[in-house]
Amino acid sequence: MANPIIPDKSVVTTCAYCGVGCGFKAETHQGRLVRMTPWKEGKANHGHSCIKGRFAFDYYISDDRVTTPLIRASIDDPWTLVSWEKAIQHAASELRRVQAKYGTKSVGAISSSRCTNEEIFLVQKFARAVLGNNNIDNCARICHSPTQFGLSATVGWGAASQHFDSILQADVIMIVGANPTEGHPVFGSLMKRRVRQGAKLIVIDPRRTETVESAHIKADVHLSLRPGTNVAVLDSIAHVIVREKLYNEAFVRARCEWDEFERWTEFVSSDRYAPEVIGPTAGLDPELIRKAARLYASGPNSAIYYGLGVTEHSQGSTGVMCLGNLSLACGMLGREGVGVNPLRGQGNVQGGSCLGSWPHVFSGYRFVTDDEVRGSFEKDWGVTLDAEPGLRLPNMFDAALAGNFRGMFIMGEDPVQSDPNQNHIIEAMRQMECVVIQDLFLNETSKYAHVFLPGSSSLEKDGTFTSAERRVNRVRKVVEPLAGYQDWEIVVMLMNAMGYLATYDHAGQILDEIARLSPAYKGISFELLERIGSAQWPCDEAAPEGTEVLHREKFPRANGRGTFMLTEYVPTAERTNDTFPLLLTTGRILTQYNVGTQTRRTQNNRWHSEDVLEISAHDAHIRGIRDGERVKVSSRFGCTELKAKFSERVGSGIVYTTFHHAETRINVVTSDLSDWATNCPEYKVTAVEVVKVASEQTAKRAAKKKREHVVTA
C-alpha cells in the first residue's frame, strides 16, 4: 500500500480562515487531503502559517457534513432527504409563493465571507435580479460595515491602504481594537518582527493582550481605555496633534480639502477633548494620551491597523472616521510604511464588501440609487433593478417581527449564533415561511430552516478570495465537492429554477462578469492570477498587475482629495449601573475561528474546548468567585453560564469572553444597540453582572449538558 502521508497531488490554494489570506499547498493522497503546507510564494504569508490554516482542515470530512439536500414543511417537522432537483424546485416555488403572498420585498438573501468572490457576487445578483429587490446583506454587517462607511467618507475607499509587507517600513505602529497575534497570527508575527527591529508600538485596547506584551515585544504606550470610549480617546489624540501643531500641513494642503481640515481642527481643539477631560472618562492617564499622539505624529512612517474593537460599537463608523482623520492630518498615507488598515476577520470579508453584497451599493461601493451605475447592471443582466436601498440584516429580522418579511436565502452564515440579542433573532426566525440554508453543517440557524442545501467547503471549489490587503487570491478545487456541487453551481440552479436564465461553465466566467461590471476588478481574471499568482485591486489598464499601496497621488473621491469628518463623542446608551456593574467585551482566540463551525470539528478544539469568562481577581474575589468556577453572566437582554478564569489581561470592571462555542450562547447576553450609520452591533460593550453558580444541582446540570454536547458533537 502507498504511504498515506506521502501526497500524490498538490494544489496551491488560499486559506479560508482569517483575512490574511495565506497561500497553501493542499496535498492529497488518493483524493483525501492529508497536509496543508504553507506556500513560500504566497505574497501574504511568504511560507508562514498559523495553527488554524496549517492543521484545522479535517472539518471538511467531519461526520456532521450534510451531503444530501433536506426539506420540511414546518420547523417542527423532522427533515426529509430529497434529491437536488426536488430541493431546488421546492426552494424556488416556496420563495415565489412567499413573494406572491407578502410582496416582492418580503424575502432577502445573506451571503458569507466564507464563500468566494464569485459566489458572493452571484448571491447579490440572485437577490437583485431574481428576487427583484435589494434585500441583500453579508456578514460584514456585523463586523466591518463601519469600515466601509468611515473610510469611504474620509479617504474614499473602504479598504486597507497598504499591503501587509508595508509594515516592515513602519517606524510607529498603532494597533487599535485588534489583537493580531491571536486574530491574524501571520500578520501578527510580521508586526512583531518589525517591533523587534525597533519600531515603536502603540496599542489602544481595553485588554492587556499578547499584542501589548509577549515574548520579545512590549508596547511603548498601551491605552487600556474603558470599552465604548474609542471616539473620545481618538479625538483627544487629535486634540493634542492639533494643539501642538504636530500635523503635516504640507500634506493636507496638497492632498486634502483644506476647509474641512480647518473645521476639524477647530472641532477637536475644543477643551472638551483635552486629555485632562477625556482621561478620566476613558480611565486613562492624560499623559499617556499625549504620549500616544506625539509618537504617532512623529513617524516618520506611522501605520494604523485596527479591528473589530473599533467597529463593533454604537459609534463604530465614527471611530473609523477618527482613524481616517488622523492619518490624513499627519500625512500618513500614500507610501509604504504608513496607512490605515482594517484587519479583516474572515478570509473573504473584503471580497464580501467589494462585491456588492449590501442593500445600498453595487460592487465597488457604488450606490443603487445611482441611475448610471444601476443602468450598467440592468444592461448586463437584462432586468430592471430596484432603485431603492433594501433591508439590512438586523432590519430583516425587525421586518419579520413587523409581519413584512417571510423568506430568506442564507449562504454560509449562522446568524442565530453569531448575531446579537439571540432571543430576538429566534423570535424573528420563527416568523419565516421559507428559510433556505446553504451550508456544510446543520447549525443554530438551520433549526428554523425549511430547505437545507448541502454546500461545499473552500477545499471543494474554484474561485477567488480578496484578503484584508485587497489581494485577490485563487481558491482552487483540491477535492471533489462532497455533496456533488460547488456553491456557485447551487445558486445557478436556484436562479434557473426561479425563471432567470443563468449559464456559467466555470467560476472564472463569473469573475469575468465581476471585472466587466466593477472598475476596481477590471483587469482581474483567472488567466491573470494563473500568470502572476495574485493581484491587489485596483487592477486595470493603469495598474495591470494590481496596486500595492493606495492613494499615492490622489484619493478616490470626486475631487481627488481626502477629507475630514467631525467626530463628536456620543457615549453609548449601554451603561453600567448597580444591577449590571461590569462591562462585557467579546473576541477571539488563536486556535478557534468565529462561531467554531469548522475549528470545533478539528483537533484544534483540544486547545480551547470551551469559552471561558476572563475576570480580574479583584472583581472575582468581591463576588466570592474562585478560579475555574461556573458563573452566571446576565445583562438587560439575557443570561448564560460559563466558567470563570482569573486573568490579568482585563482590568477591574471589565470581563471578556470568546464566542466560539454555541452552548455558551453569549449572544443571548449581548445588547441590541448598534452603530449609528450601519447597524453593526455593539458586541464590544454590554453591561453585565457575574454571579457564582453555587448549587450542586446546577453544576450537575452543566455537567450533563456538556456530556450531551459531546455525544451529539
Partner: protein
C-alpha cells in the same frame, strides 16, 4: 411622499422596523451630524436616509413626524423635510455638502 396623518390618533403601523427602534436609529444619526451647522446637518441626514434606509423605513419615519413625531430629534425633522429635494439624489460619501 405622503404626508397623510391617517394614523395620527394611533401609532403608525410599522412596515419594516418597529417605530421605537426607528426613532432610536434616527436620533443616533442626528447625534452624529450635530457638530455641523444647521443647513449641512439637515443635508447630511437627508443624504444618509436617502442612501441607506429602505424606503419603507423612510416613509414610516416621515409619517410618524407628520403625526407629531414625539421623541424625534429636531435635526431629523429638518433632514426628513429635504427628502426628495436634495442636491444629489444618488448619494455621496464624505462630509455633508454645504
Amino acid at each position: 411622499m405622503s404626508h397623510k396623518t391617517a394614523h395620527a390618533e394611533s401609532p403608525v403601523p410599522s412596515r419594516a422596523v418597529p417605530l421605537e427602534r426607528l426613532v432610536v436609529m434616527a436620533n443616533q444619526i442626528a447625534d452624529f451630524f450635530s457638530p455641523y451647522p444647521p443647513a449641512r446637518r439637515a443635508e447630511g441626514i437627508r443624504n444618509h436616509l436617502r442612501t441607506y434606509w429602505d424606503p419603507r423605513m423612510r416613509q414610516d419615519l416621515t409619517e410618524y413626524i407628520a403625526a407629531g413625531g414625539e421623541g424625534v430629534s429636531p435635526a431629523i425633522v429638518e433632514g426628513v423635510r429635504l427628502l426628495g429635494s436634495g442636491p444629489d439624489p444618488k448619494g455621496y460619501y464624505g462630509p455633508p455638502k454645504a
